[in-house]
Amino acid sequence: MNHTAMQLLLAALVVLPLLGALGALLPAPPGLKGRNPDQAVLRHGVTVTGVVLAASVALAAGFDHDHPARMQATTDISWIPALHIRIHLGVDGISLPLLVLTALLTFLCALYSYFKMPTGPSPKAFVSLMLVLEAGTLATFAVLDLMLFFLAFEMVLIPMYFLIARWGGAGKQAAAWKFILFTLLGSVVMLLGLLLIGVKSGTFDMVALATDNGPNSQLSHTVQLIAVLAVGIGLAVKAPMWALHSWLPDAHTAAPTVGSVLLAGVLLKMGTYGFVRIALPITPEGMHTFAPYLAAFAAVGIIYGSLACLALVRKGAGGDLKRLIAYSSVGHMGFVLLGIASLNPTGVNGALFANIAHGLITGLLFFMVGALKDRTGSTDLDALAGTTGAALYGRAPRFGGLLAFAAVASLGLPGLAGFWGEMLAMFGAFEPAAGLSRPAFLTFMALAGLGTLLTAAYLLLVVRRVCMGGTPHLAPIAPLGDGSRPDDRAPGEPAAAEAPALPDLARYEYAAWSPLAALTVLAGLWPAALLGLTDPAVQQLLGGGK
């Protein structure tokens, strides 16, 4: 594909959702009115995100896979000369998978919402906000100018705030505020760091900065330290790193299903992507100084996340399943941060792989937990599990099976996507970049290893409590998926009321979830497809752009 077509595709990725968001607010044109205005606007959302997904797939197809380290489809136009801000877009092996993942998850969310609109005010605003969110996320991965990166980073805040505050569940206002205040505080601090880089080096261009050919070339050691600290705090809030993560469980628990999926699937990646794209190449010395601390926080995050999940999964703890998956995200993102902190190609590749894997698997998990809530009215583990377990295998076997699949993928079973990223991240920590304390990193690696065990423990407990369970009252009589009430048939058995049959996977759920499951298997069996893209680009970033 020629260069202009690629340029247009990449620009369309950012601009289309924005236009779509505006379009969603306008009344539907004649001929596209659908059954009713709500249906029309939800269909509009599916159409726009579908087109964006198609564009991203076309971009991936046109991408020169032989040179993934080179910035491709680049556009570079001056926008605000006063601040040296340029509209510089481009895609390489690091950002391409994230772009496709974002487009895919948003499309699946739009598809899911078309059939299952979250309860709340008009879908018009919902679709519009979701599209702005998509534009902001895609822009974050596509821009190559620090100020535009900041702009895109900020662009997702308002839509996500409203998605949580208007369409969320219990405690949504407080959760939405916590989300936006934490992330905004982080991102203004990040802005200070980015400005420091810009002021000292004379350019905001990421490519020029990464290759040290900005007007003033190298940044001094002190500047790098301050810049990494400031930028790192902003990114670490978003990622989230342990100690700055406390907004995440609340936001996830309160957010509507689609909000949780996008938050976990793509928004968190903006933080880790920023580390790889900005902190590693632009401020290598500063990163080198702070890497052990980052790794330590990451290791603590892994342990903390899994211990929190273990506490939630206990019987009688009243743990919320959505909250549990949110905490598991803290642990998984800990692996990503550990990989980045090891500063060697293995670790960073692992981090990028774990990024994608986490997006696929946790996206799927949040989808399923949301659907479980719609079916049973609760995500409280104790309420779900009753005395023996929720017995999804018996009550909705396909649903239960897929949930167990997602849980097993999340714990990092070899052969599924979750495995490679975490393995490579730990492998990276086994032999960190020269100059980093090996004993320290070995300790972090050991902690991470312990974390995988704990992760396996809580996820298996989740499977045990949610998918398995006694179903003597139900099993012989309930033809699955017909939605009829089992207690009609089992009178006199009080326990029967606890386990009504659940609707199994609906067709739209197959449509929305099977791509995620399929990609999880694909990425697990053929990791080279992804690593082949990221590795050359990572080598180049770590090598100072040579």
């Binding site: 926008w79 605000i80 000369p81 006063a82 601040l83 801000i85 005010p121 605003a125 902001g136 100020m147 900041f150 702009l151 900020e154 662009m155 805040l157 308002i158 705030y161 409203f162 505050a165 208007r166 505020w177 936006i180 205040l181 905004l184 505080l185 203004v188 601090v189 802005l191 200070l192 400005l195 420091l196 810009g198 002021v199 301050i226």
Partner: protein
């Protein structure tokens, strides 16, 4: 260049200054139209009084248009005999930008006023005369390059404002607000005059460039104390106009008591007067005292933004006039951001470069703040209490007004979709970082987060569902007056255009204006 007095002029000719009328046109036109309105008021029958409003609006538009011929280069007039470079009136890029800000802001205020005057039965002729006089003073101020003209311009801008604040006859709040404003303002002016007299005593000149020269090398070292006292006291007067802490106490009560368009006027043009005066005296007048006023302004800026934002945060949304109170306190917070680049100028070798950030920020702030006041005026027509809770469900009643207000508020907060607000803040931040004022940048960062909380809370109210069924019956949907709509639409269109092309205002931040 303006016609200059020849060096070897005859004694008679040297007594007559030739004036570059084109250069002084913007303030002069505003003042002349003010007089026309005052006189016309006597002859126009009551039924046709609204005509005065359109004359005044036209006059302001004309004054703004008279800036166009001045764009080609610097003009100076009222220069000292024999010293053509020492002038009292200079039309350089800085002057033109601030004059544009003042006149365009006054124009928007005029559009907001037309309906307010009718609704509240304010004295038409007096209102327009006072507004135009104040605008004339505000337009004169950025061009002034000597301390006497500065003080006079400041007073011409302020005195009519006192009367405007107290114009709501029979309203106790209004008279109280005017008195409060008047007393504190007069005290500040007195202090400033004292400072100016000290400086005159120490340097023997009122012209800023001469003052600057003499201050670097005082004829007698014993004058140093007098000179620095003079510098400090002069700054106080302008700090008051900018509503910088600790001179901000008059703001909330004055805004609530004043007619709404006048509150808008004070929040934008009043501040423009204050900070342009500050820029002139600090950067042009006292560059050698940068190590005194730089840190002082930095502390004042930090204090101002914190006080304003924390107070705005504490406004109860169901209190009477809470919307205007919130805008009042938030304008104090915004004044803090405006001061940051001026403080940064004290730390830089080329101070003129930093102040461009203030100018760019002020232009953004003027457009969106006037827009926000416009929507507040619109809501005040149906719910005179103007509580923030009255804005609940505005989107359902008036979608466009709600979207516009949401856009203005997010611009003030500095978050997308308010892109121009975001980048205006970025320029201010970058001025602070450039000057090495890291601590001030961090304080400002925290303030931005505090401010987001109340701006976003208000924005969220707009889109919340309509009032609960037990609430009052929904206010009758009154027609939207054309002038008010025009003002809001102008502000919104300006904001949207600038969000697409921020360079239009941000270019002032890159070039030296003075």
């Amino acid at each position: 260049m303006s016609p200059m007095i020849p060096m070897a002029a005859s004694p008679v000719a040297s007594l007559i200054q030739s004036v570059d009328w084109l250069a002084v046109a913007p303030p002069t036109i505003a003042a002349a139209v003010a007089l026309v309105v005052l006189v016309a008021d006597l002859f126009i029958p009551d039924a046709k009084k609204p005509l005065l409003g359109w004359i005044a609006t036209g006059g302001l538009a004309l004054a703004a248009l008279s800036l166009l011929p001045l764009l080609d280069g610097d003009r100076r007039t009222f220069c000292l005999m024999g010293h053509p470079s020492v002038c009292s009136y200079v039309a350089d890029p800085f002057t033109l930008v601030i004059q544009f800000l003042v006149l365009a802001g006054a124009l928007l205020t005029a559009l907001l006023s037309i309906d307010t005057i009718r609704d509240h039965d304010l004295p038409t002729g007096e209102y327009w005369f006072l507004l135009l006089s104040s605008a004339a003073g505000a337009a004169l101020l950025p061009a002034s390059r000597d301390l006497a003209t500065l003080v006079i311009a400041l007073e011409v801008a302020s005195l009519p404002a006192f009367a405007l604040v107290g114009l709501r006859r029979g309203d106790r709040l209004s008279s109280e607000a005017a008195l409060k404003f008047f007393l504190s303002s007069v005290a500040a002016t007195a202090v400033m005059l004292l400072g100016v007299s000290f400086l005159y005593a120490a340097t023997g000149s009122l012209h800023l460039s001469r003052v600057a020269d003499t201050l670097t090398d005082l004829p007698d070292p014993r004058l140093a104390t007098l000179a620095s006292a003079g510098v400090a006291l002069t700054l106080v007067g302008f700090a008051f106009k900018t509503a910088a802490a600790p001179f901000h106490f008059w703001v909330p009560d004055t805004y609530v008591g004043a007619p709404l368009p006048i509150a808008a006027y004070l929040s934008v043009i009043g501040k423009a007067v204050g900070f342009s005066g500050l820029i002139l005296v600090t950067v042009q007048g006292f560059p050698s005292y940068a190590e005194v006023w730089g840190p002082a302004l930095a502390v004042i800026a930090a204090l101002t933004m914190t006080v304003g934002n924390v107070a705005a945060l504490r406004q109860a949304p169901d209190r009477a006039h809470s919307a205007v109170r919130l805008l009042a306190w938030s304008s104090v917070g915004q004044a803090g951001y405006l001061l940051v680049p001026i403080a940064a100028a004290g730390y830089l070798d080329e101070p003129a470069r930093a102040i461009g950030a203030t100018v760019a920020y002020a232009l953004m702030y003027a457009a969106v703040n006037l827009g926000a006041f416009g929507v507040a005026a619109l809501v005040a027509r149906t719910s005179p209490g103007n509580r923030i809770t009255d804005y609940r469900g505005l989107y359902a009643r008036r979608p466009l007004a709600a979207l516009a207000l949401g856009f203005f508020l997010l611009n003030l907060a500095g978050l997308p979709p308010g892109i121009i607000g975001l980048f205006a803040k970025v320029t201010v931040f970058s001025a602070a970082v450039d000057a090495g004022l890291g601590w001030l940048a961090v304080v400002m960062a925290i303030n931005v987060v505090i401010a987001l909380y109340y701006y976003l809370q208000w924005t969220a109210v707009l889109f919340r569902g309509a009032e609960a069924p037990e609430g009052r019956p929904a206010p009758a949907r009154a027609g939207i007056p054309a002038a008010l709509t025009t003002a809001i639409a102008l502000a919104a269109v300006l904001g949207v255009i600038l969000s697409g092309a921020p360079q239009a205002v941000l270019r002032f931040a890159s070039g030296a204006l003075l």
